[in-house]
């Protein structure tokens, strides 16, 4: 249960970061400067990365939930 809470916090962080970037895209300007890429592409990559991280953490939540249910059934 503790692990699921940690994963949920991470999911919330990824989602909040995505929402923040969507609301204020210009906050990624320094990152785009460092990567030497246009801001548009940087935002697209960032949002895709956040999505992949969210999916991975949701899968981890599912695995953990399945494990705890299996333990409970045993």
């Amino acid at each position: 249960m503790k692990r699921i809470s940690i994963y949920l916090i991470f999911v919330a962080i990824w989602v909040a970061a995505s929402a923040a970037v969507a609301a204020f895209p210009t906050i990624l300007t320094p990152v785009a400067g460092v990567l030497n890429a246009p801001l548009n592409e940087t935002i697209a990559v960032f949002l895709s990365l956040m999505l992949v991280l969210t999916i991975i953490f949701l899968a981890l939540i599912g695995l953990e939930a399945g494990r705890s249910v299996a333990e409970h059934l045993q």
């Binding site: 999911v11 989602v15 995505s18 929402a19 969507a22 895209p25 548009n40 935002i43 697209a44 949002l47 895709s48 956040m50 999505l51 992949v52 969210t54 999916i55 949701l58 899968a59 939540i61 599912g62 695995l63 939930a65 399945g66 249910v69 299996a70 059934l73």
Partner: protein, 193 residues
């Protein structure tokens, strides 16, 4: 020939093993679907607005990533669904057997149950993937649906034919009962006259 008790025990074991895995897989797929449809797709659409940021291809990219994740999860579930359908077929075959179940009957039941399970899984998969397929190429959703309907009809038709022996036997029993009941009624009426 398969022993009835052995078949029932194996089926029960398989169901206990596979059901939790399927439930977890579908729950994860549902969470991903929920996050995708309610959070990431609207964000991508917002950034794709030409008046705001004009990231036109981002919506399709996000849809494609979610689509791949959902497909991977459903591929993982597929083996468990096949195991469960085999177990259900084992139950059904054992229910109509006294001591031993013929292999041919068990295999026929397994093929029939697998057909039904494939159609159900394909329909659930399509419902999950629909917003994301439509997010990439809207026309593709319609094409996939047409192909799915034709395929489902063919599979269900084949499944119906696999059960035809049982249906014929059941129909013959019912007809025989109705016939004997009618003869009895006629005989009673004749005696009263």
């Amino acid at each position: 020939m398969v022993d009835r008790e052995e078949l029932l025990a194996a089926s029960r074991r398989e169901i206990y093993d596979s059901v939790p895995k399927i439930v977890v897989g579908i729950a994860v797929a549902f969470l991903i679907w929920l996050f995708g449809v309610l959070i990431f797709q609207p964000l991508a659409r917002m950034l794709g607005d030409p008046l705001i940021f004009s990231l036109i291809g981002l919506g399709s990219l996000i849809s494609a990533i979610i689509l791949i994740a959902l497909l991977l999860i459903f591929i993982g579930i597929f083996k468990e669904v096949v195991d469960i359908t085999n177990a259900l077929a084992g139950y059904a075959a054992a229910a109509y057997s006294r001591k031993e179940t013929p292999d041919e009957k068990l295999e026929r039941y397994q093929r029939a149950f697998r057909g039904i399970a494939y159609v159900l899984l394909a329909v659930i998969l399509f419902l999950f993937l629909l917003p994301f397929i439509a997010g990439i190429i809207p026309v593709l959703a319609g094409i996939v649906l047409v192909v799915l309907v034709i395929w489902a009809i063919l599979v269900l038709f084949r499944t119906g034919r696999l059960f035809s022996v049982e249906i014929e036997r059941w129909a013959a029993d019912v007809t025989r009962k109705i016939e004997s009941h009618r003869e009895e009624m006629e005989w009673n009426e004749g005696r009263e006259e």
